[in-house]
């Protein structure tokens, strides 16, 4: 695998960013896009555009086929049993809101408990909080250990007879911890508990096999997966998607509409009301092809190498403190520098073309637990190299110099 060749597939790296070569270390936030994805959007709008699933004219039929092709590609990529278990949403946030909302309507009752973790992104906490407000459910938090991990033992400890649902991240966007989702699911199912997985960080960086993982729902963010913005995927086991009510009402999701009654469409239309992000869905097929052409095993090996290298580099750098040290770690290096706030770090690094994220990364619960207001985060993607991490380290040293450290 030649990273230089892969990098060439991303047009953004031909650009000078404020006169610098771009060192993009913000892929956990959103990944850059390969040319084939960008070109596919252009081609669809230029030569093939039509709305899908409605009209019978030539373009509409062709566009519908393209749209459904992506559904099949996603199904295969994540090894879902059925094509109809793939629902397109406007993002992973909407996917998680869909699950919380529909389970809230039909399944969760007052006093039921939902177990999440201290690692969760706000999008896997706030939707459950809505149910805490509206249905009086209780939210429990599995706590991180010293290394910033959530262990199976901790989950076992937090399950009560009232736990109806566990909603967890696959891979923490701050500590990088990869959660034992398969083991947690096995345990949960033995107790009749539903498992929802926030796969925003998992999907771009880990091998996905829904039938092996066996979780009930899995939310994917396409723009973190070398795909377009405005698009997410919700995987849901067929029995749940059939049983639960629709999320939004509108065109496309109905079967029959009368003045006194309405029946809903079959899967997956039932959950895809209104005109969907058609061009994005069609272009996302190219993102999957891109990942498949490299091979997820190669992606995982490359990113594991990068993280190990980056970790060693930063550990050696005085006054840099890494957040979390999980045994099983994805491509995220979060850190603080004693005496420098993360926003100052990010601004100074930016001057060298090094793009990182600063703040609480939508994980305020975790930052409160760690007793820090914010952190800096460098996260890697398939296009990153060890040189990028060397530049990160050099720019951190410049930052320390400016702050007289």
């Amino acid at each position: 695998m030649n990273i230089d060749h892969i990098k060439k597939e991303f047009p953004i790296f031909d650009e000078k960013i404020q006169n610098n070569d771009l060192v993009y270390l913000d892929s956990a936030n959103s990944s850059q896009k390969p040319k084939i994805v960008v070109d596919r959007i252009n081609e669809f709008y230029t030569k093939q555009f039509s709305n899908v699933g409605r009209s019978v004219h030539y373009l509409a039929v062709a566009a519908t086929n393209l749209y459904e092709n992506t559904r099949t590609s996603v199904q295969k990529y994540i090894n879902a049993k059925d094509k109809n278990e793939i629902v397109f949403t406007k993002g992973a946030t909407e996917a998680l809101n869909l699950v919380a909302n529909t389970l809230g309507q039909n399944y969760l009752q007052e006093g039921d408990e939902v177990l999440i973790t201290e690692l969760e992104h706000h999008s896997n906490y706030v939707p459950w909080h809505f149910l805490r407000k509206s249905k009086n459910i209780k939210i429990n938090f599995a706590e991180i250990n010293e290394e910033g991990e959530i262990t199976l033992e901790e989950i076992v400890k937090k399950i009560t007879p009232k736990t109806k649902l566990i909603s967890i991240t696959h891979l923490s966007n701050v500590t990088g911890a990869i959660l034992p989702v398969k083991e947690i699911t096995e345990l949960a199912h033995s107790k009749g508990i539903i498992v929802v997985v926030d796969g925003c960080q998992g999907a771009p960086h880990l091998k996905l096999d829904m039938q092996d993982l066996d979780c009930d729902f899995y939310a994917i963010s396409c723009h973190k997966m070398y795909g377009p913005t405005g698009l997410g995927v919700l995987y849901g086991k067929k029995k749940w998607l059939e049983e639960l009510p629709p999320y939004q009402g509108g065109g496309g999701m109905i079967s029959e509409v009368k003045k006194d009654r309405i029946s809903y469409g079959d899967l997956p239309n039932k959950y895809e009301a209104g005109t969907m992000a058609t061009a994005q869905v069609i272009a996302f097929d190219q993102s999957i092809k891109f990942l498949e052409s490299i091979g997820i095993e190669n992606v995982m090996r490359h990113e594991a190498d990068l993280v190990e290298y980056g970790q060693e580099l930063l550990q050696k750098n005085n006054s840099v403190k890494l957040i979390g040290n999980p045994k099983n770690k994805g491509g995220v290096l979060s850190f603080t520098i004693e005496g420098v706030h993360s926003h100052d770090i990010a601004t100074i690094l930016d001057e060298d073309g090094v793009a990182i994220r600063a703040g609480h990364h939508c994980c305020q619960i975790l930052h409160d637990k760690l007793n820090i207001p914010a952190s800096a985060r460098a996260s890697v993607g398939i296009y990153n190299t060890k040189e990028d991490l060397d530049q990160l380290n050099d720019s951190i040293n410049n930052c320390k110099k400016i702050f007289n450290l």
Partner: protein
């Protein structure tokens, strides 16, 4: 370079050792401000006397060097000014951070203007303007707070 303008010695010094970073125990006005995007937060306390002169001002909170330095310099300048003067200074400062090349208020002495102008480098960093202005907006909220 731009960074040198942004992180001048005086900013780094105020950021490291902020003045009035404490709580005025006998405050009679206060307000909290936060920046939900980055999690920065500030709590401004005022003690106004009968003539609405700021007898004491302090703040608590956490944030980057820019926001801490800005709050620190602000509290230094506002102490001893009355409410109207303070609000005029806030307006002048916000104008300077966003567009005006310099400070105009006659309520500020030359050395005070020089001190405040140190923050003008923020202008080139639109994402950081909020860091510099958070405490100032919070100060206005504290003045306007209705409390029995």
């Amino acid at each position: 370079m731009n960074l040198k303008e942004l992180y001048q010695e005086i900013i780094l010094e105020h950021g490291k050792n902020p003045r009035n970073l404490r709580k005025t125990e006998d405050f009679n006005k206060d307000a909290k401000g936060n920046n939900p995007l980055c999690g920065d937060n500030v709590h401004v306390y005022l003690k106004l006397n009968g003539q609405r002169i700021v007898e004491d001002i302090s703040f608590e909170g956490s944030g980057c060097a820019i926001s801490m330095a800005s709050a620190s310099i602000m509290t230094d300048l506002i102490k001893g000014k009355n409410e109207n003067e303070s609000k005029e200074i806030v307006k002048d400062f916000l104008g300077m951070i966003k567009e005006n090349p310099e400070l105009k208020s006659e309520k500020l002495k030359e050395d005070e203007k020089t001190k405040l102008m140190c923050l003008s480098g923020v202008k080139q960093y639109p994402m950081r303007v909020k860091c510099a202005t958070l405490s100032w907006h919070t100060l206005v909220s504290a003045f306007n707070e209705k409390k029995e």
